[in-house]
Symmetry: C2
Subunit: 341 residues, 2 copies
């Protein structure tokens, strides 16, 4: 059993979470729960979608800091990444503040990777860190698949890249700032994923590429921690969609572990899939980030969910590599969240 | 003064370093010092340059592990990143081993960012981590500038992307494996960079975009640590090239800090710039990684250099963003290396 569970060296907490979302996301089941939305054209006042996505990261970090009552002088480091070539949404988002910046690339697993990083760094190196990520439907579609103007048909396995950004502030002190009432959200443990090639090479079937990685990370975590699905209130994957979720449940079942009563997927939760014609569901770095920030963390704070395994799922690929005959590499990073008094 | 120096929670050491380089690099001043070279067509046996670059990362990590006498079961995590869209060289490099993988994007600062990450993680979370990065002239040129076949003319400020990969194994125990004789190389401290936009938007003048970031990080580190250039044997930047190096020295001088007697740049060191017609010098993630692995770390081990500030410099941009009128964002991460008995 390869890998080791990372336990923060001191208790660390998600003390603030914020979400920014587009109009399609704010028309789904989580409507009204996002902190900032653009219910018009998803441009957030900018003249290109790439700039819109950087603006979303700026907005969401500012929002998370404001909710907590802290400023850029209090946040000692920001971890950020996104799907754009050379992660430019993240690169352009933080040039106007003075927060030290460490760039990540975990594709759609970035929210989990950022939380993992923040939990390690706040263990001793800093007292307060931020993890931010974003995706935008219009930047992703034209970069990874087709320009929107082509109106390309999408197969049933295709997912819809979420227009959304999430920011999480991780602090060693649960009382940092004026945190909202309720339980504190502890990052109790984390498990980095292993990159794996399962032979999937269809950019319209990302769920299939990521599901085996999610299964691998979940099974490793349960085994290494000596726990079972019954010990958790929720096993939440990032963006497997309907198809990837079915595959994940089948895969864990084939290893004798039934997660079906505990599993949910952010890509399935974020849209009314049939009503909004979203095929297999949502995807993208922003998918799990906004669902975690807008729905799951408030439910942990309210005491509704006590023990949550959050598994960020990522598909590591680019279109050129697929044209060169490479497969899509899957990765899945896990963080274990707990509501504590 | 924003930012905080990160001091590892326990002593951590670079216990192994390896380098893989192409034929142009092995024809320069460091010829014969690299562990593995392709002195023919820089393909390393693969049928596309993108696959060659992934192969270089695989080779260099294996080489670093072999030199130390450890296996993939001993390395508990690998931090890796590169310049390709969605960091695919890194993504494809580790699917055949079982090492947990955390992807980074720091552009050409990735070697320093990886060492910083590894020093924090080996402080308590793991005992042994690897940091790996790569660049390849043929993959970078066609992605960032022009297809090689165009034979585009390059201005004097242009840099030459290094074909090279470096791997560093960071361990809490300096006696891990059968480390080569000599002093141990301690990572004594690190300082994450702040992303900054200085208004440069010429992809053929990366040195100018990164020099102010290097100056900023160096000046912050000296100020925060209460030290001066005289306290160090070497202040080594990653890939500013000749032009960026001049700018850096001017910038620090304008703040009353003269680094000219201590400063060297990997991008200047790696080529016989005039003899090899390399314009402003080398660049790319691999540039600082191979110079550090092949030249600097052996000199620290030999006792020739006792105190080294290594500043990885990165230009955060993509060609589309520049066409949309954005500037190149600079970043510079610092690690402080010490030879210790």
């Amino acid at each position: 059993m390869q890998g080791k569970i990372i336990i923060p060296h001191r208790q660390v907490f998600i003390t603030s979470a914020a979400s920014v979302a587009g109009h399609e996301e704010n028309a789904g089941p989580l409507a009204g729960r996002f902190d900032i939305t653009d219910d018009g054209d998803d441009r957030f006042g900018m003249d290109s979608f790439e700039k819109s996505e950087a603006e979303m990261q700026r907005l969401v970090l500012n929002c998370a800091m404001n909710k907590l009552g802290v400023t850029e002088n209090d946040v000692e480091i920001v971890f950020a990444g996104d799907l754009l070539n050379q992660c430019v949404s993240s690169a352009y988002a933080y040039t106007e503040n003075e927060i030290p910046f460490l760039g990540l690339f975990g594709a759609c697993s970035t929210a989990a990777e950022g939380l993992l990083m923040a939990s390690v760094f706040t263990s001793f190196a800093v007292d307060c860190a931020a993890a931010v990520t974003s995706s935008h439907n219009c930047t992703s579609e034209r970069q990874f698949r087709f320009p929107l103007e082509y109106g390309a048909q999408r197969p049933p396995t295709a997912q819809w890249t979420v227009t959304g950004a999430g920011a999480f502030i991780v602090s060693a002190d649960p009382q940092t700032g004026n945190r909202a009432d309720g339980l504190a959200v502890e990052i109790a443990a984390a498990l980095p994923g292993i990159s794996r090639d399962f032979g999937i090479n269809d950019a319209n079937d990302m769920g299939a590429a990521m599901a085996p990685s999610a299964a691998d990370t979940i099974l490793r975590y349960l085994s290494l921690s000596g726990t079972s699905p019954e010990d958790y209130d929720l096993i939440l994957t990032g963006d497997l969609g309907q198809r990837g979720s079915e595959l994940l449940r089948d895969l864990t079942s084939s290893h004798g572990v039934d997660i079906s009563q505990k599993h949910a997927d952010c890509g399935v939760m974020i849209y009314d899939i049939d009503g909004q014609d979203k095929h297999s569901g949502g995807s993208g770095c922003g998918c799990s980030a906004v669902v975690l920030a807008a729905d799951i963390i408030p439910r942990i704070r309210a005491g509704e969910l006590g023990n949550v395994l959050f598994i960020g799922t990522g598909a590591l690929m680019n279109p050129q590599a697929l044209m060169q005959g490479e497969n899509i590499v899957g990765i899945a990073h896990l963080v274990h969240l707990k509501g504590v008094k």
